[in-house]
């Protein structure tokens, strides 16, 4: 009765073995991790690149420390494993709330309000944001010229997005295009500079190895006057909410991954990667450093970021002047 298991889980076991191979590295850096980030706020989370003992550049993969070159592979394996159940898992883990966040995100951007826009949605694999942008422009402004380029480093995720778009009216129209590329190094031939009016990245930037590189590329491909918008899990400042959120993240989410997707490791990585992401003020500063003009360094109206649900998610925006 249990025999078919092996055939059903080739992807999971390969990702698992790759994750296990860096566990030795993790144990060596265990103390370094805890001492480097003790009090409220990390010592220097923006510098996710430090020199390891061997002198090679290392970065974080969840709570593990891995060589920089490996992170991309590890992240790719995670998303290959989760691709087919990604949307189901998102609904299960956030109890559907991620839909509210994404709706809020797109509504704030008002795509199509000032005429047709060329948008690029990066790390947008399964097409959640792209679809919302096109629907918003169509429903609110009768805009059928706005287009979205969906970009993702992972072909499996793009495939899921393509499949989802096939069920909509945008399939086979110039309004949507799917491109595979690395957000940190998008080839100029496919993504010329000063092309897009809107650059969005939702729940993707924390998986990138080098955030400053992603921001640089975003700055490059945006037109002057174009908007950068990032929706990402962020720091919860309220201690009570933070405790509940941590309990939920570290207890329930890996278990949901085990039960629904048969993959605990990937979801453990996902919740750990949220904790390693820079808090709102730091990230806002990184955006400003990349050349964007942002709001003032506070939350809310006129600020560089807006917290959703107490900071569980946060929207950072910037404009290229």
């Amino acid at each position: 009765m249990h025999r078919s298991l092996r055939q059903l889980r080739p992807l999971v076991s390969s990702s698992k073995s790759r994750l296990c191979s860096v566990s030795a590295v993790r144990h060596n850096h265990q103390d370094a991790q805890t001492t480097a980030s003790t009090s409220a706020g990390h010592a220097n989370p923006a510098a996710n690149v430090n020199s390891g003992e061997q002198g090679s550049r290392v970065t974080h993969f969840g709570f593990k420390t891995v060589p920089e070159e490996q992170k991309e592979n590890l992240v790719r394996n995670v998303f290959e494993s989760v691709a087919s159940s990604y949307d189901v898992m998102n609904d299960a883990m956030s109890l559907g709330v991620h839909r509210l966040w994404k709706d809020d995100f797109v509504a704030r951007l008002k795509p199509g309000a000032r005429g047709p826009m060329r948008c690029i949605d990066v790390a947008g694999g399964t097409g959640d944001i792209a679809l919302r942008i096109l629907d918003f422009a169509r429903e609110k402004y009768a805009d059928r010229e706005t287009s979205v380029d969906v970009v993702d480093i992972n072909a499996e995720m793009l495939k899921e997005g393509y499949k989802r778009f096939k069920k909509t009216m945008y399939h086979n129209t110039p309004q949507v295009a799917f491109k595979q590329a690395n957000a940190q190094a998008m080839p100029e031939s496919e993504f010329p500079s000063n092309t897009y009016d809107l650059y969005t990245i939702a729940f993707g930037i924390r998986n990138c190895t080098s955030i400053p590189d992603v921001l640089k590329e975003a700055y490059r491909v945006l037109k002057p006057g174009g908007t950068f918008a990032c929706l990402e899990f962020s720091r919860v400042n309220n201690p009570l909410l933070s405790t509940l959120y941590d309990q939920y993240s570290f207890s329930i989410i890996p278990l949901l991954g085990t039960i629904l997707a048969g993959d605990r490791e990937s979801y453990q990585y996902l919740v750990e990667s949220i904790r390693k992401f820079p808090p709102q003020p730091e990230f806002a500063k990184m955006i400003a450093d990349a050349g964007f003009t942002t709001g003032a360094m506070h939350e809310g109206k006129g600020g560089a970021w807006t917290d959703l649900w107490g900071g569980i998610a946060s929207i950072h925006t910037g404009v290229k002047i």
Partner: protein
Amino acid sequence: MSLTSASLRATQHASRRLGALAPVSHALSPPHRGQKRSLNTQPAYEGHVPLNWFEAGFLTVGSALMALANPRRGDMVAALGDLTSGPVLPRLRDAMLESAEGRQILKDRPRVNSHTVDMDKLALLPEGTFGNAYVTWLERCGVTPDTREPVHYVDDPELAYVMQRYRECHDFYHCICGLPVNVESELALKFFEFANLGLPMAGFAAAFGHLRLTHAKRERLFREFVPWAIKCGSSAQSLITVYWEKRWEQNVDEMKKEFGIWDPPEPRWSRPLSEAKAAAAKRQKAAEARLQEASS
């Protein structure tokens, strides 16, 4: 000390205390807590995932629902088995400690998979031996002793091994009882295992597995196989104490008499026995030829 700072301190204290309950399995506790991990959240063996009581409850319910909804999720069946085996595993371990053979198993901790079981050597054994019967049974059913889902949710390493041993010996029980791998025979074997070993998971599978059978098959199961399973299983020696790997050359009928097992009613085999025998004979010839090549 003002009221606000006192209440803030209380919240922080509460969050630290709650945080201490946080199970962290393979991960560190969130670094910004600055707390040390308590010993019992470290994995005790490879593949161990420590869970606190809440998570264990959550996973028990979740894996039960998932296993019912999708019985092909072997990992969910295994997880449910791990989580419900609590009180019974120490009893099984003690049964093993009481017999010399069982003690040897606990010392050696043998594993059963395609690497540790030399199929070619077993194929060479004469007919009537356990080793030959096992290889014939594998051929006949078309299965291999591949690795079953490892144990994750049992906290004590020795008990985790006992659970792992039970899972890996499942095929040996099939062989000694002479049951194939179709659903009704698997259920009959689950009844047998429940009567013999007492593991709750075997009981659940027995209690709920038959709901998916056709009426005729279920009727046959309860009329013929279940009485055999319960009588034979409860009177036989506890099979977890048997060191199968040391008994390859032993005569099967002798073994059955020793354990107190008698044959079940004739089950439904999907491939006729002669085909499997021919395949086994072919394999034996190939193994012999390989040996001759190696020696010459």
